[in-house]
């Protein structure tokens, strides 16, 4: 019996959200008194033995470059086989793009119950109960999994990685890889940018910024903070910003350490996507804006004046430490 953690990689690098999943899976293994192991698909340039520091003793790898693109069908088949081979009883994913494509599919294949979007360790005192976010972050549900094998996908940014000591051994998994039925014809990655769902800091703009030509002040602040950028729905709808930046109930749901909302009113549908952020800062010229009720810090003021000053203040502060 063991806990198996799916390690997601992109361009040969292990994703930050996977390090969280590894730490989380290793903690479940400790709780159950069993071993924690990982599985990675495709060719990886990162040193996989170093993942031992996050609490896993072994990494199973299917070292085949045909797996460098996610094909849920192939991935599900291979991961399910690895679960069977390794005798894992708990399978952990990050609830990122890959997790959303693959986790439920593997669960169906194994006839295993799944909790997707988990945000805390399972309660194993009486059965196996996992807490997850529901109603787009407005509430939590405790879900009991009844099946022998359990699948959990963990919300990004909801479990802190812990770096300890240790090295993992690498075991090559000899599994036949079927030809993919998906032909990838183009990849458009915004290089250098921090993926929104993994970002520690997110700077977000709303209709209060008046037009796309005014985004410079926001981008400067984001750059100074090493932050990802986001926007409200009307901003995405008006194509002021790319639609994948749209956060909220009908957009991306995020939980960064710091969310800075600039010229966003804080409609309930917007809050639903960002209210799991640890610290929320609101900059809005209207002191009655609903967002202030959900905020930790706020400035009532004109974004066009406040934001450049904030960028300058942070720059100065960084220079002095």
């Amino acid at each position: 019996m063991s806990v198996l953690i799916f390690i997601d990689q992109s361009d040969g690098h292990v994703k930050k959200s996977s390090l969280e999943a590894i730490t989380y899976g290793a903690d479940i293994a400790k709780q159950l008194g069993v071993a924690a192991e990982g599985i990675v698909l495709g060719t990886v340039s990162d040193d996989l033995t170093a993942l031992g520091k996050y609490g896993i003793s072994k990494v199973h790898q299917v070292n085949n470059n045909a797996l460098n693109h996610v094909d849920a069908q192939l991935y599900a088949k291979i991961i399910a086989e690895a679960v069977t081979l390794s005798g894992a009883k708990v399978l952990v994913f990050s609830h990122n793009q890959t997790g959303k494509a693959v986790a439920a599919r593997v669960a169906a294949r194994l006839k295993a119950g799944i909790v997707s979007g988990a945000c805390a360790l399972p309660d194993t005192s009486n059965g196996f109960v996992v807490k997850k976010t529901v109603f787009s972050g407005k509430a939590f549900a405790n879900i009991s999994i009844h099946s022998d094998i359990k699948v959990i996908s963990l919300n990004p940014n909801s479990y802190k990685t812990i770096v300890g000591e240790g090295t993992a051994t690498i075991a090559d998994l000899n599994i036949i890889v079927d030809p993919s039925r998906i032909k990838v014809t183009a990849i458009n990655k915004v290089s250098g940018d921090v993926p929104l769902t993994e970002a520690d800091i997110v700077v977000s703009g709303g209709r209060g910024l008046k037009g796309p030509e005014n985004w410079g002040i926001l981008l400067d602040l984001a750059k100074e903070l090493g932050a990802a950028t986001a926007c409200s729905r009307p901003v995405g709808d008006a194509h002021w910003r790319p639609h994948h930046e749209h956060v909220g109930q009908t957009g991306v749901q995020i939980a960064p350490n710091l969310y800075i909302a600039i010229g966003i009113s804080g409609a309930i549908q917007h809050l639903a996507g960002v209210n799991r952020s640890k610290v929320i800062v609101v900059i809005n010229k209207d002191s009655e804006a609903p967002f202030f009720k959900a905020a930790d810090y706020g400035i009532v003021g004109d974004a066009f004046e406040v934001v450049p000053q904030l960028t300058a203040a942070i720059k100065k502060m960084k220079a002095s430490v």
Binding site: S10, V70, D71, K111, V184, V190, D296, M317
Partner: protein, 247 residues
């Protein structure tokens, strides 16, 4: 060419989220129900657009729910779609639900199955992948663009840090999100027509329930906002660094 569109009923986005019966049940009092926005705005509208381009396309809608989900399925039919199937069950288990849809999918021989990327109440993102597994079809999740030429689909999907374009032959399961289509408002003709469109009710097939909801919790209330004066912006930087320790 047959398309199956999965439709789910969810509380309106402005609904007050509260629980009853010792936090074991969602408080439905005063709640307005809507079609899950991802199902409506993106997957259903895209299916309708495909039919508008090619009259040989037929669209069937499916929902798993009790009789009280019928207004939602009629509303979906008012937007478009030829007929609907309701599998009579109140299950909330993804595997149970996906098994029902997969069964209908196998019987109906659909070329394309659309789901929304998730429901806005349960946020599972599970059903599409499960249907694909249970019907042994390829699965493209988080689609932002969907084009069809003959029996080959060209799909743009969200991947970590960007987008990927892929070609896949039908049959296929796709989960849709923003970008795939634009929201539409049903017109009077559609609403009238929906009343007489066939809505078939079937009983679920036997399937395992692998998970169940034990209880709900609301997040702890925020302590309240700390306001910093607009002429003292550097104080905000200091608080974020020294007090909140987030920068």
């Amino acid at each position: 060419m047959k398309i199956l569109v999965c439709i789910s009923k969810t509380p309106d986005t402005t609904s007050k989220i509260a629980f009853t019966d010792g936090n074991t049940k969602f408080d439905e009092s005063g709640v307005q129900w809507i079609i899950n926005p991802y199902d409506e705005w993106y997957s259903l509208v895209r299916a309708i657009e495909l039919k508008e381009k090619d009259a040989a396309v037929s669209i069937h809608l499916i929902t798993i729910g009790t009789a009280d989900s019928e207004p939602i399925i009629r509303k979906a039919l008012a937007l478009g779609g030829d007929e609907a199937i309701r599998v009579n069950s109140n299950s909330s288990d993804a595997y149970f639900i996906a098994t029902q849809i997969a069964e209908i999918a196998k019987q109906g021989g659909y070329d394309l199955i659309f789901t929304g990327k998730e429901t806005i109440d349960y946020n599972g993102s599970s059903i599409g992948g499960m249907i694909a597994e249970l019907t042994d079809a390829p699965y493209i999740s988080l689609a932002t663009k969907f084009e069809l030429a003959g029996t080959t689909a060209t799909i743009t999907r969200e991947v970590d840090g960007g987008e990927e374009v892929a070609e896949v032959d039908l049959p296929l399961v796709v989960s849709c999100q923003k970008g795939v289509a634009e929201q539409r408002i049903p017109n009077m003709r559609g609403i009238m027509a929906a009343r007489t469109k066939p809505l078939k009710v079937v009983e679920p097939i036997a399937a395992d329930t692998l998970s169940s909801i034990i209880s709900y919790e609301l997040p702890p209330a925020k302590a309240g906002v700390k306001l910093v004066a607009a002429d003292n912006v550097s104080e905000l930087a200091r608080l974020l660094h020294e007090e909140a320790k987030v920068i």
